[in-house]
C-alpha cells in the first residue's frame, strides 16, 4: 500500500469513528477510577482498603483537609501533625518527594476493625523511596476511618549548643604570585582496598579510600575497565556511592557500577582516585547507634540502626553508606540509602540499608558512615 492510500484509509476510518461516536454515544454506568490517572482523588470509605486508598490518594493530590477527613482519631491527631508526618519538615528529603500511586492490601479484618498494609512509593530526586505502613482502621458509622498514630513529631527544645569545631578555608594561588610560587597542595588520598565483583549483569568495583592528609579533601574515584583485547569496556565514577568530603584520616567506602558488563570480559581495572582541597567544617558529628543485621517484614536482610546528630545544626538530608566485610576483613559489598527525615539535634532517627540476600551469610562485620547535606553547609 502506498503512503497516499494509507493516509486516505486512516482519514476515512477516523471520520467513520467520529460519526459513530457522535450518533451513538455510550452510556456510562458510573465513574471508572484508574489509580494514578487524572487530577481528582479517589474518595470512598466503603471498605477498609478504599478508606486507606482515599486517604493516601488525597495526600498524593496534596488535598490535606480531605485526607484528614479519613482520620478516625481526630481528637488525638492534629491535621498539622499528620501533614508533617507525611510531607516532612526541615527541608528533609520527604519535603522534596511526591507520592506515587500506591498499593494497599488488607492484612486482617473483622466487623469493626481492620489492618491494611500500604506499600507507598515516593518519587524523590535520588530515586524511588519505598515505605510500608500497616494502618489500623475502625468502622465509624457507615464507613471506615484510619486510626493515625498519635505520636507527635519530635521537637528540639530551645537551647544554646556551643559548637567550636574546626573549619578549614582555602586560599589558592593568585595571578599576582611569583613565578615558581607554590599553590596549595592537593590532599593526599589513598585507596586502601579494592575489589571487583559481579552483581547480576553488572560489574561492581568497590573498596575504601582514605584521606591520609591533615586537611579536608573532596574525593572522587573513577574506574576504567579494560577488556581482554585491550579495549576500554567502560568508564564510570563513584557518583553518590561515596562520601565526597573526607576530613583528615577519614575513610569512605566507594562503589562503582558498570551496567551490562560481564566480569569474565574484564582483564584489568584502572583506578583513578582524585582529590581536591575544599573548605569544610568538622561539624556535625553524627553517631551511628545500635547497628544490627535484621530480617525485615518482607524477609529481606537489612542493616538497621539509629542516627544521632550530636551537633546543634539540623542535618536536612542524611545519607547512609554501609560497608560489609567478610571474615577476612575484605570489602564484599557497599550499599547506601537516604533517610527521608531531617536529623534534629540529639533526636535518634532510625535507618535501614539493604544487604544483598546472597551475601548476607558472608557478612562478618560492617561499618556505617553518614554523609550529610545541610543548607548553608559552608556558610555558617
Amino acid at each position: 500500500m502506498s503512503g497516499k492510500a494509507l493516509a486516505i484509509a486512516i482519514t476515512a476510518i477516523t471520520v467513520v469513528l467520529v460519526a459513530i461516536g457522535t450518533l451513538w454515544p455510550g452510556e456510562a454506568s458510573g465513574t471508572v477510577y484508574i489509580a494514578g490517572a487524572g487530577t481528582s482523588a479517589f474518595n470512598s470509605n466503603d471498605t477498609p482498603e478504599a478508606a486507606a486508598r482515599s486517604l493516601f490518594d488525597n495526600v498524593r493530590q496534596r488535598n490535606w483537609s480531605r485526607a484528614y477527613s479519613y482520620i478516625g482519631n481526630q481528637n488525638e491527631v492534629d491535621q498539622r501533625d499528620m501533614e508533617a508526618d507525611l510531607q516532612g519538615t526541615n527541608d528533609s528529603l520527604r519535603t522534596y518527594s511526591t507520592l506515587e500511586p500506591s498499593d494497599f492490601r488488607v492484612l486482617h479484618q473483622t466487623n469493626d476493625t481492620a489492618v491494611v498494609r500500604a506499600n507507598l512509593k515516593w518519587a524523590t530526586a535520588v530515586g524511588a523511596f519505598y515505605e510500608t505502613r500497616d494502618l489500623n482502621l475502625t468502622r465509624q458509622g457507615n464507613g471506615w476511618k484510619v486510626v493515625w498514630p498519635s505520636g507527635k513529631q519530635p521537637n528540639v527544645p530551645p537551647q544554646v549548643i556551643p559548637v567550636n569545631y574546626l573549619r578549614w578555608d582555602v586560599i589558592f594561588r593568585g595571578p599576582g604570585d611569583d613565578w615558581g610560587a607554590q599553590n596549595v597542595e592537593a590532599p593526599h588520598v589513598r585507596i586502601t582496598s579494592m575489589k571487583a565483583g559481579a552483581s547480576g549483569d553488572n560489574v561492581v568495583i568497590m573498596g575504601e579510600i582514605l584521606n591520609e592528609d591533615t586537611v579536608p579533601a573532596f574525593v572522587d574515584v573513577k574506574a576504567t575497565l579494560v577488556g581482554k583485547d585491550g579495549n576500554t569496556l567502560g568508564k564510570e565514577n563513584s557518583f553518590d556511592k561515596i562520601s565526597h568530603t573526607l576530613l583528615p584520616k577519614e575513610v569512605s567506602p566507594f562503589r562503582i557500577d558498570f551496567p551490562g558488563v560481564r566480569l569474565a570480559e574484564v582483564k584489568s581495572v584502572r583506578m583513578e582516585p582524585n582529590s581536591s582541597l575544599v573548605p569544610a567544617s568538622a561539624d556535625p558529628v553524627i553517631a551511628v547507634q545500635h547497628q544490627q543485621l535484621q530480617v525485615d517484614a518482607r524477609g529481606k536482610h537489612v542493616l538497621q540502626g539509629e542516627l544521632v546528630n550530636e551537633s546543634g545544626r539540623v542535618v536536612n538530608i542524611p545519607h547512609v553508606i554501609a560497608t560489609y566485610y567478610n571474615n577476612q576483613g575484605q570489602v564484599i559489598w557497599v550499599a547506601d540509602g537516604y533517610v527521608d527525615r531531617a536529623l534534629l539535634p540529639g533526636i535518634p532517627m532510625p535507618f535501614g540499608v539493604a544487604v544483598p540476600d546472597d551475601l548476607a551469610s558472608q557478612v562478618h562485620n560492617y561499618r556505617v558512615i553518614v554523609n550529610q547535606y545541610s543548607q548553608g553547609k559552608f556558610l555558617q
Binding site: 567550636n164 569545631y165 574546626l166 578549614w168 611569583d178 613565578w179 615558581g180 610560587a181 607554590q182 599553590n183 596549595v184 597542595e185 586502601t192 582514605l210 591520609e212 592528609d213 591533615t214 586537611v215 579536608p216 576530613l247 583528615p248 584520616k249 577519614e250 575513610v251 568538622a282 558529628v285 553524627i286 553517631a287 551511628v288 547507634q289 545500635h290 547497628q291 544490627q292 540502626g305 550530636e310 560492617y366 561499618r367 556505617v368 558512615i369
Partner: protein, 289 residues
C-alpha cells in the same frame, strides 16, 4: 616557543645571506659582550649605509654614516645569544658576536610539595633557575645554597652548583611540625618558599572509658605522631562499641589534642578506637580489660 626559534633561525639565515652580500668584509666586533652593556662598532669609508643587528630576540635596523662609530645601546643586546651585525653597501661588512648573561639578579625557585608529613626522607625537592636582570638563564656554574629550617629545630643546609643554569636538591622533612622556611640563595640573591610540615599518622593511640549518667564517655590520651607532634584538630578518630544492642560508631574529631565521644549505656561492651589505618587499644566494659 617553536615559532620564536623558527623566526630566529630565519633571521639568522637572512643575516648570513646579508653577510655574504656584504662581500665578506669582517666588522671589528668584540667576541663577547655582557647582556645589557653598551658597545660601539667602528666603521670605515664614507657615505651612508644601513646597519642591521640581528639577535635572538629581535632585529635593529639603523641608517648610519660610514666612518663613524655605531653606538649600540645596552637595551639592544639584552637577550643572551648569538648576534650578527651587518652593514650594507660597497664599504659594508658583517660579523658576529655573543652576548653573555649578566650576573645573577633573579632566582626562580620551585619547591615541592607545599605540605608534607614530618620525618619523610628525601621528600622535599627544590629546583633553582638562576636568571640575570634581563631574564637570561645564567648558565655559568653558580653555587646555590639551599636551607630548610623550622622554628625550634636544627636547620638543614646543602650547597649545589648550577648546571646549565639549573640546580636542584632533595631534602628530608624535619621531625618537628610547622611552617618550614625553604630558602635558596645564589650570589646574594635569595628566594623563599614555605613548606608546611604536618604531623604524621597517630602513634600509640590510647583511650580510656568511664560510665556517666548519659552512657559511656570515651576519651583518648593526647594524640601525637611518632615524632611527638600533636595530630591536628579536626582529624577523625573512630570509636566503636559493640554491645548486646548492636554496634555503635562515632567518628569524633580531635579537639585540643584529644578526641572524645559519648557512647550509649551498656552493661557489657567492647570499645575500640582507630584513626585512619591506625588501631588503638580495646576496652571491655563490664568485663576484664
Amino acid at each position: 616557543m617553536t615559532r620564536k626559534l623558527l623566526v630566529g633561525f630565519l633571521l639568522l639565515v637572512a643575516c648570513m645571506l646579508a653577510e655574504d652580500a656584504a662581500r665578506g668584509v669582517e666588522l671589528q666586533l668584540p667576541k663577547e659582550v655582557v647582556a645589557g652593556a653598551d658597545m660601539a662598532v667602528p666603521t670605515m669609508g664614507s657615505g651612508s649605509a644601513t646597519f642591521y643587528l640581528v639577535g635572538p630576540a629581535g632585529t635593529v635596523k639603523r641608517a648610519i654614516k660610514l666612518g663613524q662609530e655605531i653606538q649600540i645601546k645596552g637595551e639592544d643586546v639584552r637577550a643572551a645569544g648569538r648576534y650578527v651585525a651587518v652593514i650594507t653597501g660597497d664599504n659594508g661588512g658583517s660579523g658576529g658576536f655573543w652576548v653573555m648573561p649578566a650576573k645573577v639578579a633573579n632566582v626562580g625557585f620551585i619547591a615541592q610539595p607545599s605540605r608534607l608529613p614530618v620525618a619523610l626522607p628525601g621528600a622535599v625537592s627544590g629546583v633553582v633557575y638562576a636568571f640575570d636582570h634581563f631574564h637570561n638563564l645564567v648558565y655559568q656554574p653558580q653555587p646555590v645554597k639551599f636551607e630548610l629550617s623550622v622554628a625550634g629545630a636544627p636547620t638543614t643546609t646543602r650547597t649545589v652548583a648550577t648546571k646549565d643554569g639549573v640546580a636542584w636538591t632533595r631534602m628530608d622533612s624535619g621531625r618537628k611540625q610547622g611552617a618550614a622556611q625553604f630558602d635558596a640563595e645564589v650570589d646574594g640573591i635569595s628566594a623563599r618558599r614555605v613548606v608546611q610540615q604536618v604531623a604524621g599518622d597517630p602513634c600509640n593511640l590510647r583511650m580510656k572509658a568511664q560510665r556517666t549518667p548519659m552512657g559511656i564517655l570515651v576519651e583518648t590520651d593526647p594524640i601525637r605522631d611518632c615524632s611527638g607532634n600533636p595530630v591536628p584538630d579536626g582529624t577523625i578518630v573512630t570509636f566503636t562499641s559493640v554491645d548486646s544492642k548492636g554496634t555503635t560508631t562515632v567518628d569524633a574529631r580531635i579537639k585540643r589534642d584529644v578526641a572524645s565521644a559519648q557512647l550509649p549505656a551498656a552493661d557489657r561492651a567492647t570499645i575500640s578506637v582507630a584513626s585512619g589505618v591506625v588501631l588503638g587499644n580495646e576496652i571491655r566494659i563490664g568485663g576484664a580489660q
